[in-house]
């Protein structure tokens, strides 16, 4: 079997701006922190999903990028059910790991919380997206030193060729002390842009 994947849609979030398929969806004051920005996107998009505010920062970033991307698509619930999700970043869940570590550093100031601990895994945000959209396909979270378009392409193609998923939601979702950025795209036989390392890289750097 030889399935050809294309890039059907993409969405990127950084510096207070959300761009989806080349179109600016949200643009805010870049000076504000991520949490304020996330709140503004939530309001701007008129979401009604209060669970969003319980999420940690990485999950919020993953969730909001996927939410906007999937809204811009025509994708049936059957297609969503079979969708694979392949995400990656550099810092895994260290952003929340540090927060949890601070809560256990001293006996005098010891306040570990299960609500924080549960987010100390990078794949939890992916789980949040799956819950929201009833996605029950293949899942994998990878960690690389830098955005790795070649690997995303290779692994998404392997899933398609091995008959594990007709479509793959791929990308990068990174948050750390230094800042945040995310880029998700849908690899699907339906798209028009070629699913090549160059195109993935171009879309990632353009936005």
């Amino acid at each position: 079997m030889n399935i050809k994947l294309n890039i059907q849609a993409w969405c990127s979030v950084q510096n207070g701006t959300v761009i989806c398929n080349g179109k600016k969806i949200v643009s805010t004051d870049n000076e504000q922190g991520f949490s304020e920005f996330a709140k503004q996107v939530y309001k701007n998009q008129q979401w009604e999903y209060p669970k969003f505010f319980k999420m940690d920062r990485l999950s919020k970033l993953t969730f909001l990028t996927a939410e906007i991307l999937l809204k811009e698509l025509t994708i049936s619930s059957e297609e969503k059910e079979q969708l694979a999700v392949v995400l990656s970043n550099k810092s895994a869940s260290l952003d929340t790991d540090r927060k949890y570590q601070d809560s256990i550093n001293s006996i005098e100031n010891f306040y570990p919380s299960p609500a924080v601990f549960v987010y100390t895994l990078p794949n939890i945000g992916m789980g949040e997206v799956c819950i929201r959209h009833k996605i029950q396909g293949e899942n994998a979270f990878f960690v690389f030193d830098d955005f790795n378009p070649l690997f995303l392409k290779q692994y998404a193609e392997s899933l398609a060729q091995n008959n594990k998923a007709p479509q793959v939601l791929c990308g990068w979702t990174e948050i750390d002390e230094k800042g945040y950025n995310s880029f998700l795209y849908l690899a699907s036989p339906n798209g028009t842009l070629p699913h090549t390392e160059e195109t993935i890289k171009k879309l990632y750097t353009q936005s």
Binding site: A92, L94, N105, P112, F117, T120, Q136
Partner: protein, 383 residues
Amino acid sequence: MENPIYIQEPSLITPLGFSVSENVSAIEKEQSGIHEQHRTDILDTPFYAAMIASEKIDATFEKLGDPSKYLKLEKMMLLSVAETLEKSKLHISEKTALIIATTKGSIDALDPDNSFSEERAYLPVLGNKIQSFFGFKQEPIVVSNACVSGILAIAIAKRLIQNNVYENAVVVAGDLVSKFTVTGFNTFQALSNGPCKPYSKYRNGISIGEAAASVVISSEKNKTTAIEVVGDGSCNDANHISGPSRTGEGLLKSVQSAMQEAVISSKDIDLISAHGTATIYNDEMEAIAFNRANLQKVPLHSLKGYYGHTLGASALVEAIIGFEAMNQNKLFTSLGYDESGISEPLNIIQKVEKKTINTFLKTASGFGGSNAAVLFKKVAFEH
């Protein structure tokens, strides 16, 4: 299958020993690695966990390098990979992948009492340590997908090799017992007050453990009998981030995906090594999923009673014991089980027994709604 993929030269670094044979011999004698730990640097009260003495790791590590230069998990993973590479005599080429499975990596580097820099907690830094130590040519692929990471890494290696991205891969999995994870599971009130008892009526939570494990995955076979990876699947529950699905949906889908690919029906499976963490929710979810898959009569064990839950390493450690069960045609006891604490029947192994094992299913489930299943088959070749 068009591109068969094989397992070669497993290695284990666990509280039960630093070789596969030591591990298997302890399991055969039903010896657990879980003990009461008095480690106030981790938790102010005693707790049950399966831990490896740092002194033992350091003494063994001397043959590879200076133990003071590496964190505990780095040393465990380096020791494990070194043994797998030595036994397999693998030539590391441009087409050799290094796949690392871990949930928390060297999370102990975040602890202010730890003398190593915080940078070492970054998973790519852990990856680079292993890569440069052995001279892997490609950037390491780190899989961090909660407690299914270890078995998912095998599926990933298989898929990439079948699609000619790589010719072979070294898969290494590892996780630590740390203040971070012990206090975390403790806040969930998930820690057992004795060695954990998967599927038992008398269970009361998990025990944590630490381990490292590695294998080579390759399209080449180097023996007259080999273990082939015949099917895989890793599906999300889409239900809850920290609790498994009540219907076992994601696990069922993962098992079905693996069986469909392998063209195997439930009656062909000889052994299941399940996740069996000994929490009510997990054990019950598995019982439901395996019944829905019509696997309730297949001999099944959880090895958490020996190793505790070694998180990202667990499924690879347990798969390796499964390979030995296949090699020796032996069922190993599900330690800690006595009376059933699940609502649907499972054929839980209660004593060591001889049985021909040709087909083996390994499953795992974890936070984030993750599940994974991989099927292995014993194959014999003519010389």
